[in-house]
Symmetry: C2
Amino acid sequence: MWICPTEYECDETVTVAHGGGGRLMHELLADIIGPILDDEELCKSDDAAVIPQLLGALALTTDSFVVQPLFFPGGDIGSLAIHGTINDLAMRGARPLYITVGSIIEEGLPRNTLLSIFRSLASAARESGVRIVAGDTKVVERGRGDKLFLNTTGVGVVETELPITPTRIAPGDRIIISGDIGRHAIAVMAARASLNFRQPVLSDSTPLWATVRALLDTGSDIHAMRDITRGGLAAVVNECSQMAGCDITLEEDAIPITPAVRHASELLGLDPLHLACEGRFIVAVSEADSESVLEVLTTITPENGPSIIGIVNSTVGDGETPTKPRRNRVIMRTPFGGARYVGIPTGEVLPRIC
Amino acid sequence: MWICPTEYECDETVTVAHGGGGRLMHELLADIIGPILDDEELCKSDDAAVIPQLLGALALTTDSFVVQPLFFPGGDIGSLAIHGTINDLAMRGARPLYITVGSIIEEGLPRNTLLSIFRSLASAARESGVRIVAGDTKVVERGRGDKLFLNTTGVGVVETELPITPTRIAPGDRIIISGDIGRHAIAVMAARASLNFRQPVLSDSTPLWATVRALLDTGSDIHAMRDITRGGLAAVVNECSQMAGCDITLEEDAIPITPAVRHASELLGLDPLHLACEGRFIVAVSEADSESVLEVLTTITPENGPSIIGIVNSTVGDGETPTKPRRNRVIMRTPFGGARYVGIPTGEVLPRIC
């Protein structure tokens, strides 16, 4: 059974006064956040961090994190915020270098909770060689927030010659998935509803840059990469098909799903294709390069079961008029020889999973 | 009398489903936020924006905005978020170029409110030549947020040879203020408490980069700049004295405060030195260059009453042991020949003014 580590252990809490720019806020930053993040530039407390010139095109991404609860099996909002931002940069072929952290704290948050989350955040950043160079802290009154919201914004340097973006997806491309889907959503859901599965499902939250760099090292001409987050695999593949202007056909039995996630999904009435991950991605690459991409993924994380799950169809368009929406569909072939369309979920499948 | 523009006009609201990565979220982004922000890179909806290589050292800053109410005389959370981030970059002598926007929306926020705020945000960015290249939207349940929180993170290029930072402040430096203090805090306070002053106080929220660039053009060796935000002038000057390791003496009657702000402060029992601004800053510069800095400020915004308000003392240190805290004090000389210490406020003077 997974036990939430530190969330309610301490009487000492953050108050609105800690957000006021005065002495208490200086103490909060100097005593808790500064020493944990421990970055020379951050600790200067200047209005903005100054970093040396970067060589190459830059990638820039921002994400707010409102995951509830703050701690879940396999991670917490701190590590999640770092992984999420690293992964968005990695998906453009960019090496993550600098991250900024904005915190919106609800009055009453135990200081221990904050401490624990910032330790996790700092260690996730360090693990990926990313520096946290700027931060901001706001406190809102009790009932005007929900314990802690984080924003992380990342800057990276693009390390590819050709852009990596779904508009480069071409007919015949193979769609490769880096591993099994849905663990993050199920882990958060289980923590939220205090479900105790016999075999606990751990979040797949993980940084992806090292894996992406290894893929680039193969020399494969990767057309697109997308990490599978909100909306799940269904949303991500649909976005790719729309941006590329191509139908994409997936093979249902090629999509890796662990028995634990499959059973939990059935229990909760959820479609695994709609479940968010925080450490899985798809790659669109030409057929010629698809085997070397799969080989690298299989070498790095064989336990995740990377797999070629689909193909970009070569029949594009049907002479439609420009006013008629293009039919950029995602088609799922079932193991029984059938086929169905995969739509993007309408609204919220699982609220606040990131 | 100031009337809040659009906050409660519309029945159509944002729901949790809009934050789920599905069809409704795509509609929110495509229908409302995308067209208003209207940036080519943003509208590509890639995981991260890619921008061309930047020449020079970079400045990076992040800020979350939780101002309450969302609209106040002279501004709103949208323009405020842009100005705040531009100004933090400008204080390091950096030209603001790119901004990312993260939104945390509370379920039930009228779509019109969101529309109005994003219009204001987009127009503030355009006015300063800044591109909004990446964004993120989250929705939290009713009662778990407070209408709208924004995070803006900015990237700029440093346009000075020598670093601009309080550690470069030297004895003899003059402290120059760019204009009258406290209008932003009083404007927000008045809107929050529905106070109707005979003469309404408008927020001083404004972008400062153009002014800073004009100061740099004088060739003055500017040692430090700080915009006056949370904690007010008292906090900012204390931060400078601490970082510089010098006492700073201010002249009380040189500090520009409008009669309206002075009266409102008296009425509300507030010290104007603790009031936040969002478009005022102090400059620390050698005596030799102080007149040319003042001249530029007076040329650009004579109506704000820029003024030399203090001097960095030349008597530094007294042979204290390293374990004893340095006495880096801010001393205020009163018009009556007296003197007092100015501390930084302990906690929250006015919560959520930015």
